[in-house]
């Protein structure tokens, strides 16, 4: 037999053996590898670190109690760096073999990644994105944050009900954060539905050097009320400047966005309780559940969170990890690569029909038709530089 023929036969034999082996090798899935898209570097790294803590806490708990269907969960981290290019790369890497994807964290990353997940038909659970951001990717993405529109309906109407003298409002916001700007649009809509005139919508550059020009412009239009969507430091400085210039009815100030940050209250206390009386829109409160308290104790051990009084919104990653556990177990997913497509669809259908899911830190939550969950949000008032909860969306929409 010629050398050439021998080589051809050897190559064919090896190839067939390989293919045969691949066809008949039993798929071995001894762990659940879930891609986790988060921001460990870049501008959002501080928030990313919090989200990482909550996600790891959930994974540790799940693995300690036997994992998911008896197999441990392993998160495959991918740093989006709050860079859309990196986020897209992370998502495209993640969708190749995964059942479901946790993240991404930020609105911009979600805007880029969720449509990719939808195109490839893989379920993703972004955390900070509003329902408006995930809408193009429905039903392959859900929003664990409350719907911005319903949130605005609740907080603006509740605030106005408690301040019937408000007829004219000035709004202030950071112009570069899409999610905050979107909320501002809805807030304006609900104010105008109540017959309130929005006199001005002032863009305040984050950590502005001097806020007096903003305050002068605000007071010039003689508003009855002020709505802010600013970072904590700017909120406190503007409140101080308003007080100095005679705007002393603090109950007529509504603070959103920074209301969940502990530094808002510590800075207010340092400035002589300058925010006392102001209303705040709160994403989370200090729930009495044992898991909530356990997470809070762990959170206080994280750098910079020693004075945390409640969980930050990053606890959504904790809840999302448990949602993934529930979805895999209830749908009977095996992780078998040959059944990937059908198992992905089952997980998607299950998550999109979740009712009365025990989130462990927020109480029971159910998904709404628009892809958001009915996680309650709250309105509070600041007293002695601490937020005191007044009402929640659960009560509000029940009455409605």
């Amino acid at each position: 037999m010629s050398k050439y023929r021998m080589v051809v036969i050897m190559v064919l034999t090896v190839s067939l053996t390989f293919c045969w082996g691949q066809l008949y090798a039993a798929p071995v899935v001894d762990k659940w590898e879930i891609p986790f898209l988060n921001t460990w570097t870049g501008v959002g790294a501080g928030y990313g670190a919090l989200c990482d803590y909550f996600q790891k806490a959930a994974v540790a708990e799940i693995n300690a109690s036997g994992g998911i269907a008896g197999k441990p969960i392993v998160m495959k981290d991918c740093d989006t760096a709050m860079d859309p290019t990196r986020a897209a790369s992370c998502m495209k890497k993640a969708i190749e073999k995964s059942l479901v994807i946790l993240g991404p964290m930020t609105s911009l990353d979600t805007q880029v990644c969720a449509p990719i997940a939808a195109r490839e038909q893989v379920m993703c659970l972004p955390v900070a994105a509003g329902v408006e951001t995930i809408e193009p990717a429905r039903p392959w993405a859900v929003a664990l944050m409350f719907s911005n529109r319903r949130d605005a309906d609740f907080i603006m109407n509740t605030w106005i009900d408690r301040n019937p003298g408000i007829k004219k409002v000035v709004m202030m916001g950071v112009p570069t954060i899409a999610q905050w700007k979107a909320r501002g649009v809805f807030q304006k809509e609900f104010l105008e539905k109540r017959g309130i005139t929005v006199l001005d919508n002032i863009d305040v550059a984050s950590v502005a050097v001097d806020v007096s020009s903003v305050v002068i412009r605000t007071l010039k239009s003689e508003p009855d009320g002020i709505v802010t969507r600013l970072f904590p430091a700017d909120t406190v400085r503007i409140a101080s400047e308003l007080q100095k210039r005679g705007f002393t009815k603090k109950e007529r100030i509504f603070i959103h966005e920074s209301a969940d940050a502990p530094e808002l209250y510590s800075m207010s206390a340092e400035s002589g309780n300058v925010l006392d009386g102001a209303y705040v829109g709160l994403t989370t409160i200090n729930y009495p559940y044992p898991e909530n308290q356990k997470l809070l104790e762990g959170l206080r051990k994280q750098k910079g969170q020693e004075k945390a009084t409640k969980l930050m919104w990053g606890d959504a990653f904790y809840v999302a990890t448990y949602i993934i556990k529930d979805a895999i177990e209830k749908t009977g997913a095996t992780g078998d690569p040959t059944k990937l497509k059908e198992e992905r669809v089952r997980i998607k259908d299950y998550i999109n029909s979740m009712k009365n899911f025990d989130s462990r830190v927020w109480g029971t939550i159910s998904i709404l038709p628009d892809g958001s969950f009915d996680t309650p949000v709250y309105i509070g008032q600041i007293r002695d530089s601490k937020p005191v909860t007044i009402s929640s969306t659960s009560e509000y929409f029940k009455k409605k």
Binding site: P84, T85, K92, K93, P136, P175, K181
Partner: protein
């Protein structure tokens, strides 16, 4: 068909190669022209708007986006051409922020949220390959032409080149138009691949990244960019997470080291000539 991740890597690398070449070209002519970044934004938004909102076919949107960026850089070039290197750098950085802020405030273009759901390009890898080949042939031919020699003269000594008869203003205009068009090409490929356009995408970060590629790869020839753009992009993709998180530190250190010890970059004309001599010798 390639896996989606591999395809995305190749497309992203193509975008950075084209964008870095768009910086390289004016640099060869002694200009620090940062126009490719805002031209990429202009072309990306144009292509996104006409395909998503107006419903134009993707190929028309693609070509239209590239032409739009070329026209914009043509218009700007008459204002920017007489500027010195430093003046051009400052003005074009300012233009990046102006363009970003403008897009952030144009509600019909999505405002701060931008636009998503932009259709993709079929056979994007073929488009990328053709773009790279056309650009590298063009840059290589330009380098070896009379224009290339004139650019080199301007880079070395602007006044001397002018005294020798090089029309610096005309050269500046042409370089800006070509650079802006290449930036626009990178912008449309990027936009159609990502499916999203957003004001924050085309900003200072892209600028620094492309300059790293050009200064490390080599600012004498286009080959350095071709080789180092994939390397620098893939470092954070394949390094362990603990190292990848320090990519900005790594990039900063790389650029400092190269500027100090090898200011022309890894691949310069001297190296290429030496390689050429070696292979000619071996052939003989």
């Amino acid at each position: 068909m390639l896996p989606i991740y591999a395809e995305n890597l190749l497309v992203t690398v193509t975008v950075f190669i084209l964008l870095s070449w768009a910086f390289y070209l004016p640099l060869r002519g002694g200009q620090l022209f940062n126009g490719p970044v805002f031209c990429a934004a202009l072309s990306g938004y144009f292509a996104a708007y006409v395909t998503k909102v107006l419903g134009w076919p993707v190929p028309i949107g693609f070509v239209g986006g590239v032409l739009f960026s070329g026209i914009c850089s043509f218009g700007l070039s008459f204002i920017l051409a007489p500027l010195t290197m430093f003046q051009m750098a400052v003005v074009t950085i300012a233009l990046i922020f102006i363009v970003q802020t403008t897009f952030r405030n144009l509600e019909f273009l999505g405002g701060v949220i931008g636009m998503s759901g932009i259709p993709g390009i079929e056979n994007i890898l073929i488009v990328c390959a053709v773009s790279i080949v056309v650009c590298v042939v063009f840059l290589n031919r330009l380098d070896k032409s009379r224009w290339g020699r004139a650019m080199e003269a301007v880079e070395r000594d602007r006044d001397m080149a002018s005294a020798m008869g090089v029309d610096i203003t005309k050269m500046s205009v042409v370089l800006q138009i070509v650079s802006g068009t290449m930036g626009g090409l990178a912008g449309v490929i990027y936009t159609f691949n990502l499916g999203t356009v957003h004001p924050e995408i085309f900003g200072f970060g892209q600028l620094l990244y492309c300059y790293t590629i050009v200064f490390v790869g080599g600012r004498d020839t286009p080959w350095g960019t071709l080789i180092f753009a994939p390397i620098l992009w893939l470092i954070p993709e394949f390094f362990p997470k603990a190292i990848a998180e320090f990519r900005n530190v790594v990039f900063g250190a790389i650029i400092i080291i190269f500027l100090l010890f090898r200011p022309k970059g890894v691949i310069d004309k001297t190296l290429i000539s030496a390689l050429g001599r070696t292979f000619r010798f071996r052939k003989a």
